[in-house]
């Protein structure tokens, strides 16, 4: 029976991986928020109606409801780690581009001002 769960888990990992690799803006964010909502519902229901989880776990052949919850948590964590990595990567790229612009702009100014100040200096002191 666990084979069903294994298949579902692998599908979940693949979906997360695709979302991570494709990465589009708004759609991606919407999917993340749906997952978040599902997660909140899952958390609430596990407190108030834990029997549902036991029932679902039996159905999937995982054993106890807490086990099922643990599996889902691990998968969710992987998803969060992946999207966070992507987001940081993008942020870093943007920051690099900006820092580079600043560096090059400042270098220009420096050269321009040295071009302006150098000729009078070589004329002798004033």
């Amino acid at each position: 029976m666990t084979i069903i769960f294994q298949i579902l888990a692998i599908i979940a990992v693949i979906v997360v991986a695709i979302v991570m690799l494709r990465g589009g803006g708004a759609r991606n964010q919407a999917i993340q928020r749906i997952f978040m909502l599902l997660f909140i519902v899952a958390a609430g229901s596990s407190i108030f109606v834990p029997q549902v989880w036991t029932f679902a776990a039996r159905l999937l052949g995982v054993g106890r409801g807490t086990d099922l919850l643990l599996y889902i948590t691990v998968l969710a964590f992987l998803g969060v780690a992946a999207t966070t990595y992507r987001r940081f990567r993008r942020l870093e790229n943007d920051l690099t581009a900006m820092a580079r612009q600043v560096a090059l702009a400042r270098a220009d100014n420096q050269q321009n001002s040295s071009e302006v100040t150098e000729p009078p200096a070589s004329d002798g002191d004033k």
């Binding site: 870093e92 920051l95 690099t96 820092a99 580079r100 600043v102 560096a103 090059l104 270098a107 420096q110």
Partner: protein, 221 residues
């Protein structure tokens, strides 16, 4: 008139940078030093030695510094080729000059330094082993028969400088650069270089463990 520019990525090298730049400028007067937000007075030292200093407002890494240097020299119409040269005094100016000559004579896009073409370079067995592994990886992924994929001493032609777009900010840029060379089907050659491992450079140089970081950065770009 041919004009060779030298790009020097620099991070906290105040004690050696002035002498490195003075030595360079005896034969290669056009030096741009990319200061990666050093916390010592490297920038002032470099400037006093006659280099143009471009300063990152935050620390970005060696790869990012090289890219900034490339974008700076692109704006110089007289520039005919670019030398990348480490700030820590490990490279020989004579090697750089020989490589420039070779680039011109053989009309190559890039000449890459290698410390494994002769036995002048003396380094620890572990470092040698890790560098060999890294080179093997690059050979497999690019099909280029390099002997040293992580050498900071290179000479790059003007045309190639306009093609390069390094996105790996830290040390993984070395493999990335080779990738882009092979992608553009650039003509290249390796040239024997002598890398000096002084006590100073060993204390500052990379830990071999950094190879793991580089691998992760390459895989999860």
């Amino acid at each position: 008139m041919a004009q060779t520019w030298v790009v020097v990525p620099m991070y906290n090298e105040a004690s050696v940078i002035a002498s490195v730049i003075k030595e360079l400028r005896k034969s290669l007067p056009h030096v741009v030093c990319v200061d990666d937000c050093s916390t010592d007075d490297s920038a002032a030292q470099a400037r006093s030695a006659g280099a143009i200093v471009v300063q990152h407002p935050i620390n970005l890494g060696q790869g990012a510094s090289l890219q900034t240097g490339f974008e700076f020299v692109r704006l110089i119409p007289e520039m005919t080729e670019v030398v990348t040269f480490d700030a820590d005094g490990q490279h020989q100016v004579q090697d750089a000059l020989d490589m420039v000559q070779r680039l011109r004579d053989e009309k190559l896009d890039i000449v890459i330094g290698s410390r494994f073409l002769d036995n002048r370079t003396d380094m620890s067995g572990l470092k040698r082993f890790v560098l060999r592994l890294a080179t093997g990886y690059t050979r497999i992924t690019t099909g280029m028969a390099l002997t040293d994929a992580h050498n900071g001493l290179r000479v790059i032609s003007r045309d190639m400088i306009f093609e390069l777009q390094l996105r790996q900010n830290r040390m993984a840029h070395a493999s990335e650069l080779v990738d882009q060379i092979s992608l553009h089907k650039a003509t290249w050659a390796e040239h024997p270089t002598h890398i000096v491992y002084t006590e100073y450079s060993k204390s500052k140089g990379q830990s071999v463990l950094n190879a793991i970081n580089i691998l992760v950065e390459i895989i999860f770009k």
